[in-house]
Amino acid sequence: MFSKHVTKDISAYCHGELSNEESKQFAEHIIACAKCRAKFEEVKLGVKLAEQLPQLAAPNHLWRELEPLLEREHVEIRPARVSAWQLKAAAAVLVLLSAWGGWLIYSNRGNAILTVDGKPAWRVKRLDGAPKVGAERISNNGELAVGEWLETDGNSRAQIAVSSIGSVDIDENTRVRLLETQPTEHRLELARGKMSAHIWAPPRLFFVNTPSAVAADLGCAYTLEVDDQGSSLLRVTSGWVALELENRESIVPAGAACETRPSLGPGTPYFEDCAAGFKDALKKVDFDPDAAARSAALKAMLDQARSRDTLTLWHLLTRVEGEDRARVYDKMAALFPPPAGVTREGVLALNQQMLDAWHDAMETTWMGIWKGVPKPLAEAYWKTKNGLSRRLKDMAPK
């Protein structure tokens, strides 16, 4: 993993010049290597900037001025030997060849494909039934261009290849649209239904818009469901996912879930193995419009909280106020004492540095796979990862 740095391949990765296997190895290394990751962020910004360079239109007078120069330079120019209809025929051939060329590009560029009219697209594979792209049913394989909807009914399922960085399985009764696919950003919209994503890219390259939040991939696998009211449920099976809406954010690790509501955004993440009463009470704390009911639910939650539920409590610190915040702090301090330098007053005043320090200290207890790993190694990993997540979040366009 650390044997060979990949900085020389960063532009090639962003431009899709690496093979799928090379891309996967690149992404795995980037996630683990702080040095290459820092360089990746720099080059990625350079790519994003260079993409803004427009092709300019040459002024109309150029040909008028060029013709006499050609004659002066003794370039032999004869009147046109082709008639107007021949030029029209040539134009028609151009159109046909463009279509053929689009197909060639489609068939020769791995997962980075273009439709016949030049739109970026992703490959789609039918898994069951007859999924539709737009109004067209796809047989075994199809393509989903930017702006197009993929829809499944009660009997159909499909799989999308997300450029070269992963795949998304689309369940029954689901409607998704490809919003953007660029080296620096891939974005889907999930209007309703359920999808399962497996992404092996560096953090914050793959996003899913839902009616009530944006899911930002931080290197992970997860499922995301959206119901007819626009509420969603995120369940993370590996890595991390950030759910965001305006200034509200929930960071959801493997084993945890998080619900969202339209206009309210992401609720508070919770581990799925928490007590049933804890989960029910959290739903009230997050979404009940009655303040007294929320406060009573918070008390019930705190009574049932375990050490691992500090994930939920940490997020709640910034979402409740006054006495409720103090209660959350006291419960957290009892379950996982704050590290040196983190004070009660600072946390209650929402000092960001203290909140981050406590978060980082608790993170190893939230991730089951780190049980048994030497503490210094686990802490070093999470310190790097948390710094990266925050930097990426600061950099990401909202």
Partner: protein, 192 residues
């Protein structure tokens, strides 16, 4: 390479070599915007210089096209002419002007922008200026990639170097752009 350019390669070039005016014009119309764009970005944004460079490139193209034997792709041959002309122009201008001076240039096809569009145009203008400050060996691969849409292999062929060198120069070009325009690394600068 676009397929339309492949047709130019196969049908029109032969007519150009025989001095066919319509074929010349078709060739010009096909490549004029791309050639002009590179000329603009390589001339520090000066439209008058870009006009001259574009005309010189097509003049040279039309006088030399009979020597084109099809040993390489036509586009490779054309973009070598473009790259050499831009380097020549830069050498000439370096004696006259401090490099990196830019002249504001409006694009006639641009419509009155909305707020976000305006922010994007400002970013594009900043990128345009920053591109002009890069050394040609870093600037030209970026222009061939983003304006012409060439692959690494095609850029390597145009510039007479290896794919690895292209990747390395693009990396360094991107890094330098990012460093010069680090103040644009926030959503507000993009109107978001």
């Amino acid at each position: 390479m676009m397929v339309a350019e492949q047709l130019i390669d196969g049908r029109v070039i032969e007519a150009c070599q025989q001095g066919d005016r319509a074929a010349f014009q078709l060739l010009f119309e096909t490549y004029k915007d791309k050639v002009f764009s590179i000329a603009v970005y390589s001339s520090g944004g000066d439209p008058a210089v870009a006009d001259d460079v574009t005309q010189q490139i097509f003049l040279k193209l039309f006088t030399a096209i009979r020597q084109f034997r099809g040993d390489s792709e036509f586009t490779t041959w054309l973009y070598r002419l473009v790259v050499n002309a831009c380097l020549d122009e830069r050498r000439r201008r370096r004696r006259l002007l401090p490099w990196g001076e830019t002249v504001a240039m409006s694009n006639p096809s641009e419509k009155k922008p909305q707020e976000k569009q305006y922010a994007r145009l400002e970013v594009a203008e900043a990128v345009r200026a920053a591109i002009g400050e890069l050394k040609p060996k870093f600037r030209l691969p970026i222009l061939l990639k983003y304006i012409e849409g060439l692959s690494y292999e095609e850029i390597a062929s145009v510039m007479g170097c290896s794919k690895g060198t292209v990747a390395s120069r693009l990396n360094r070009g991107h890094s330098q752009l990012a460093k010069r325009l680090s103040h644009l690394n926030n959503p507000a600068a993009w109107g978001e």
